[in-house]
């Protein structure tokens, strides 16, 4: 099982140049809005065509500009879950699911499996967003595609529903043997639904690896930003395990060996320890005295924005319990990530 993508496409002044190989059955594409994720998926599904390149799915060539192969979307057997679900408004739920000429037993099976009982004769406009999504998914499953593409599957739904639907989606997809590609700009969504991650930035693939590796050692600034490293500072190597974080005006010890390529250092807000008092700052590594800039109370935690007391250039985000005041912060050595451009 392998998906091989190597395509180029120009859209106005935007240049899409995507190249990745994914062996895993659950692939996630993470990227900011407008980085070309959706366009890449549309090229894979055959709805859009790349200017040049090659797309191969499990040995089947879907597109090859050199060999002049351009398989019709009808022949690719790739189900596509659209952001707006794209249900046919003139057909009832069961007609929508049955459009792929699925047997009536299969339609009945899918309707009960996706909890759509009682909605068979409704029209899409009479359904909630979550129900519409399940119908769209049922319609795709009825087609028995070799791969399913989920394009920002939860972007149109609100928080509570989102969690519930993510669980349902995982449950439904657990029985699906084919490949699934999910695209999102939300790190938690991607983390839950995929195994292998492709990180995209400005039309290019920055990193392609297992999700745990991507989140734990993002390697690149763009990847770190997308995976939740809110605090990123320009940095200069001092020695092999010591780096100068320029924006924060602090010298940090690291666990990881610093290579010459490293230009940035980063840490997640929840991995910083908030300290309410500091005794001897020079005795322990990676401690900084801070001024409070802003504090935002959230339901179950507090977001603090602090700045180095000795003149730091940029703000540092700290996520902590409901502490009254922060005098200093500790950036644990094992949580610091070293990044390059």
């Amino acid at each position: 099982m392998c998906l091989e993508v190597n395509i180029k496409k120009r859209i106005g002044s935007f240049k899409l140049e995507v190249e990745f190989n994914a062996e895993n059955n659950r692939i996630g594409i993470l990227g900011a809005s407008g980085c070309g994720k959706s366009m890449t998926l549309k090229c894979i599904a055959g709805i859009e065509n790349p200017d040049e390149g090659r797309i191969v799915l499990d040995g089947k060539v879907l597109f090859d500009s050199k060999e002049k192969i351009k398989l019709l979307p009808q022949k690719r057997k790739i189900g596509y879950l659209f952001q707006n679900y794209a249900l046919f408004p003139n057909m009832t739920v069961s007609k929508n699911i049955g459009i792929t000429k699925a047997s009536s037993e299969k339609i009945t099976f899918l309707i009960s499996k996706l909890h759509l009982d009682g909605l068979e004769d409704r029209y899409p406009s009479q359904l909630s967003g979550g129900e519409q999504q399940r119908v769209a998914l049922a319609r795709i499953l009825a087609y028995e595609p070799e791969m399913i593409i989920l394009d920002e599957p939860f972007s149109a739904l609100d928080g509570y529903l989102k969690d519930q639907l993510q669980r349902e989606m995982l449950e439904i997809l657990a029985d699906y043997k084919g490949k699934v590609i999910v695209v999102s700009h939300s790190k938690s969504e991607i983390y839950r639904l995929s195994e292998q991650l492709v990180v995209m930035d400005k039309g290019k693939v920055v990193l392609c690896d297992h999700k745990k590796k991507v989140f734990n050692s993002p390697q690149f600034v763009q990847v770190a930003r997308l995976t939740g490293y809110k605090n990123i500072s320009k940095a200069k190597k001092v020695d092999d395990y010591c780096i100068n974080a320029l924006d924060w005006n602090i010298t940090l010890k690291t666990n990881e060996k610093i290579t010459d390529k490293v230009e940035y250092v980063g840490i997640m807000p929840n991995q910083i320890e908030a300290l309410s008092f500091i005794q001897q700052e020079n005795e322990i590594n990676n401690i900084m005295k801070v001024d409070m800039v802003e504090m935002a109370q959230m339901p179950f935690h507090t977001n603090y924005i602090v700045r180095n007391m000795n003149g730091g250039m940029s703000d540092i985000w700290v996520k902590a319990g409901n502490q009254k005041e922060i005098k200093g912060i500790l950036m644990p050595e094992n949580h610091l990530v070293l990044l390059s451009q």
Partner: protein, 234 residues
Amino acid sequence: MIDMLELLKNLNWSPLFISLKTGIVATVIAFFAGIYAARLVMKLNNKVKLLLDGIFTLPLVLPPTVAGFLLLLLFSLKRPFGNYLYTQFDIKIIQSWQGCVIAAVVIAFPLMYRNSRAAFEQIDVTLIQAGRTLGMSEFHIFWKVIMPIASPGIASGTVLAFARALGEYGATSMLAGNVLGKTRTIAVAIASETAAGNYDKAGIWVLVIITLSFFIILTINVISGKGMKYFRRW
């Protein structure tokens, strides 16, 4: 009153049937031609699109007599093409019922074309893409998805085209003339009876065409209204 009944009894009803026949046949032709042209224009690039759209819409904005003049230029027996049709195939368009139909088609076509194009352009492209990724053939997508969704717009185009074809006078009288029992439609009958001073006869035809048009439009509105049920109101 007795005069009126006498008049009705002796009236030659052929204009009614000629009008209906012309209207129906012209609408059927305009229906398919309009839809085809709408699809054709949508697929084109911008410059050609503007040009072709202009040509297709022209009969709507020009006086029908201009269309009549141009059609005469084409089909007159004194002109090459008309002469060729007549001598080679024995087809005579001028002063014939076919002439009525051609004139009505030309005048009704833009309404069908513009309405169906507007209806097609409103369709969410992801529906078509979804159909393709689900393995539906283009033919299947067109008839099962696009046409039903576009049906209210297409129905209104059809109604307007039919109404226009039924009432067509200018181009018809120029191309097909005014031959009783052959090319005299209601619209032509009204004009010639009025010109001859037969106001009562003309009045009957006026009543007939008002009633006819109103009921046809009412019927089609009811039909297309049913097709609207799965669309949300706004």
